[in-house]
């Protein structure tokens, strides 16, 4: 894959998935605490989301940050717009803003540190990269 193809794939993923999370590792096996917390917040809200592991190829992160202007991972996009990284997502989760943005009910007792669970939908850029 060329860098342009990677960027195109990322751009498509952002446009086509209402809730799109770029993270280190997967929701099932996050490879970083910040990514784990962000995926955990989405899991706690019970929303369907797509997740993409940026680790298999360093160019994924380069192209993603080039596209979004945001330097760190994770990055959460909702309806094609960057919402933020783990600090912003966790602030919005705790305040109930994230539930509002996603159109779901805030859990009655939001967990302090929600445990990540498998996402219901995944896309596999990593598979394309090994071709």
């Amino acid at each position: 894959m060329t860098n342009d193809e990677i960027r195109g794939f990322i751009d498509n993923a952002i446009q086509e998935n209402q809730v799109m999370l770029f993270m280190k590792g997967t929701p099932h096996e996050p490879a970083c605490g910040f990514s784990a917390r962000t995926a955990g917040a989405l899991n706690a809200l019970g929303v369907q989301y797509a997740a993409l592991d940026i680790l298999p190829d360093p160019r994924i992160r380069e192209e993603l940050s080039g596209l979004s202007g945001w330097p760190t991972i994770p990055q959460l996009f909702v309806k094609g717009e960057l919402v933020g990284g783990s600090d912003i997502v966790m602030e919005m989760f705790e305040s109930g803003e994230l539930a509002g943005l996603l159109g779901v009910e805030q859990p009655e007792e939001p967990a302090e540190a929600p445990q990540p669970e498998p996402a219901r939908q995944r896309i596999g850029l990593e598979n394309n990269l090994t071709d």
Partner: protein, 79 residues
């Protein structure tokens, strides 16, 4: 290796008048948390506020500064 006081000075230089606290989360000089209170954040979204702080360090984020956790607010207390 960056230190928390170096990060604090650089944020204050970029955002004059800001109230800045920087903590080295691991003691290893690569995971930091910055709390920044500045009237420059007035009227900006959280994304824009955090970007102002990230922009101080450019490509060092993800490099020498492995992780920079940010909390921003305005002197009035609003986000």
């Amino acid at each position: 290796m960056p230190t928390s006081s170096e990060l604090k000075d650089r944020i204050q230089a970029a955002l004059p008048g800001a109230d800045v606290a920087v903590e080295d989360l691991t003691g290893g000089g690569d995971h930091f948390r910055a709390e920044v209170v500045s009237d420059r954040f007035d009227g900006l979204t959280r994304i824009q506020q955090h970007k102002l702080v990230y922009d101080v360090f450019g490509a060092e984020i993800g490099g020498p500064i492995h992780a920079l956790s940010i909390k921003t607010s305005t002197p009035g207390g609003a986000q």
